[in-house]
Symmetry: C3
Subunit: 321 residues, 3 copies
């Protein structure tokens, strides 16, 4: 897994993990992302990826991530080969290895985006592909770097910086992959403070807490909404799943503290706080919140995902330097 330090490091590089990025390469990526936003909103079609073919191979369906990558390729005038659930297809069903499958699709395309339920699958795909770069679109409980990148870009676009921020991270912090990635991303920068709000049994493990704290982000566990600092730069909300509780009574007791309503925003958010969510949202933010200008989960956060993916594709395919 290659560390991306300078601009020229993007071309041909597999994007497997947020850990490949440095503040310098993130700055470059986000500057290209901002340009992509202009291209996507422009009436003039882009031909940046004209003649390029990107394979989207999804061993596990994800309509949102799939659609976002497909749109990113097509916004730039490229084309896709779309393979969904290849494990139900004959070759893979017959027992073909992931390595062979990737080598086959490498012959057809200029880049491969892979989603897979097993941790490490993207890394394995990257080892199989000699000639074309791989993008990890989520490998089980492993990494989902483009989600982390779009979250960081959304905060960056809003605040103009990734240093010295105050954020609230709420919900299932024990299992939440997106939350862990966000903390890791912010730890690349200085003087960030995160307030952690979760049911007792869904707190960060003590090992993760120490690890993240050591990495440079200040972490503060809080007991309820009333401890949320006024004027946080962002709230990052995630779901508390009933299934995680052995005891339903315990779930019933806490669940209302993890539902954002207009009143929650009115009572605890600042005027400029943005409310983020990785989606899908199943009820932990009520629909009445959607039209609040601070709610970005169904608006800029989704769009930013497409822009960040456009930027990554253009960079790793060497179309932008």
């Amino acid at each position: 897994m290659q560390l991306i330090k300078t601009t020229k490091d993007f071309a041909g590089t597999d994007i497997l993990s947020l850990q490949q990025f440095t503040p310098q390469s993130l700055k470059k990526l986000f500057s290209v992302t901002a340009k992509m936003k202009i291209i996507a909103k422009s009436a003039k079609p882009s031909d940046i990826l004209k003649g390029n073919i990107v394979t989207l191979i999804f061993y596990e369906p994800s309509s949102r991530t799939f659609g976002s990558f497909a749109a990113a390729v097509k916004q730039l005038g490229g084309q896709t080969i779309e393979i969904q659930n290849p494990q139900q297809f004959s070759s893979v069903a017959k027992g073909e290895t992931l390595t062979d499958t990737i080598k086959v699709f490498e012959a057809y395309s200029d880049a491969i985006v892979i989603r897979h339920p097993e941790i490490g699958a993207a890394q394995k795909a990257a080892e199989a592909a000699f000639f074309v770069p791989i993008i990890n679109a989520g490998d089980g409980v492993g990494e989902h770097p483009t989600q982390a990148l779009l979250d960081l870009f959304t905060i960056y676009e809003h605040t103009g910086t990734l240093d010295g921020l105050t954020g609230v991270v709420a919900g299932d912090l024990l299992n939440g992959r997106t939350v862990h990635s966000l903390i890791r991303g912010l730890s690349l920068y200085s003087r960030n403070t995160l307030y952690l709000l979760s049911p007792g049994r869904l707190r960060l493990t003590r090992a993760d807490f120490s690890l993240f704290a050591k990495s440079g982000v200040k972490l503060v566990e809080i007991a309820g909404e009333k401890d949320i600092p006024k004027d946080a730069d962002f709230w990052y909300w995630t779901r508390v799943q009933k299934e995680r509780f052995g005891d339903i009574a315990e779930y019933e007791k806490v669940k209302d503290s993890f539902i954002v309503t207009p009143k929650t925003l009115a009572d605890y958010a600042g005027r400029k706080t943005i409310l983020m969510h990785p989606l899908p949202r199943i009820g932990e933010i009520t629909a009445a919140v959607d039209n609040d200008v601070r709610a970005v989960y169904l608006r800029s956060q989704i769009r930013n995902g497409m822009y960040v993916r456009m930027a990554l594709l253009a960079l790793i395919l060497g179309k932008i330097h």
Copy 2:
């Protein structure tokens, strides 16, 4: 649901129901449809939708309608994001609302075509989408406006008018959505007469009969093929499903009256009568009829579906005025 009266009403408008149309807007649509036919048949590729992305989200598979919309977008140089059976995909499977799913795909595309098994789903999608128009590609027993539009265009192309026509509508008139739409469409015009041929238990309800009769179309129920008027402008045939009969003996008694053979055409159709069918056809028109020049169901009717969809897309995306 916005009524489309003038040309400029098309741009940005959701297409949810045949009831949005007026004779004036149908005239505009059909004139653009005729141009689309020329574009589709031309060797020169069109770039009318170049740079445009249309999401096709089909909660219920329909290979014919799906293929027709995909071809319509691509004939005009546009691109698609294709999502089939999202209810099996993770976000929707996890319980994401239709509203949230539509808001996500709205961020990726310039228009959304939705097919859904539940009545009202397209209307709901239109309420969810702030920025892009929705096209209803069928919502259960609700509406399927592009089917109705292609039927009307096929008749119009053949006869040069939608006034003063004589048609025969046969088969299951009780449950047939396409038949009801056709009657409704023709009721926008003057002096049309429809002869209705169906088994007794599959007649229009008396309520529907009154409603349609009041709307301006003259309806005449007939008892058998021998009552078909010579020289009808069109026959619109639909299927009589065995499952609709409680008593199989009753089905066996009537079924042969609802199968079109070359003899049926020879005996009862005029020289210029066209034979239409919404497809799929499972045996109610025998294969021997296919090569009759009057049989348009596998030829111009299918192609017209693509042309009408091209015209609608170009109009609602503001590419043609």
Copy 3:
């Protein structure tokens, strides 16, 4: 099924079987295929199929063949309509005939590629389509002509000829469709010798043996690797499936003779022998062999499949003469 003898015979012709080809038309096809390789490797996008729509209708999933055809269309700037498993779609599920389905998709596209589990399905599709050519992408135990063509092209590209070759064909020769096609293809040329290596119960039937021998290829059945002639031009390896053996002990006894390892190559292959496999490969060639320069199955053989399909599409759509 039309025999393709001259260049002009390609335009508009269905590609259903290897048996349509002559040495003359193969020479033309392979010369266009070589050009397609240059186009695919060029940075400059091709517009040879711009404005053309090709329907890929796969009644049986095959990720490799599907991806190869999709890439072939898109490499040439064309677009696809992709229909997977239409038998689960409403029209076909309701009982629509293959004939009607093909007539529908013919209305939307300039060519149709069909994969179907039943022998004869492609022929049936070709009879249904009046206006557009059909390409058979495999019809059950029937034909899979583009696989045979890519195999022949791979040998031709390597040796510069299809006359006077020595090859080894190994594995399941009783059931192997690709093997039978390869023998048939080589029988169009002169002085070819094939050494056949298979377990006793998976030998060619005596009828097939006589038939192929009479067609002009010299066939020599051998008992084990030690009988492989030094300096064969190619080895064509296929899988020996456990399920084909009634008696597992018998399978265990022979299976190791049908696994290619680096030692097998070192002991029996020539310096210029190429090792081919139709894929998927499930273990009958070990991964350690992959990096041997003579192993072409995951490299040029796969790519050649895309180039041959590009050439066929350009030829039958009349874009190259």
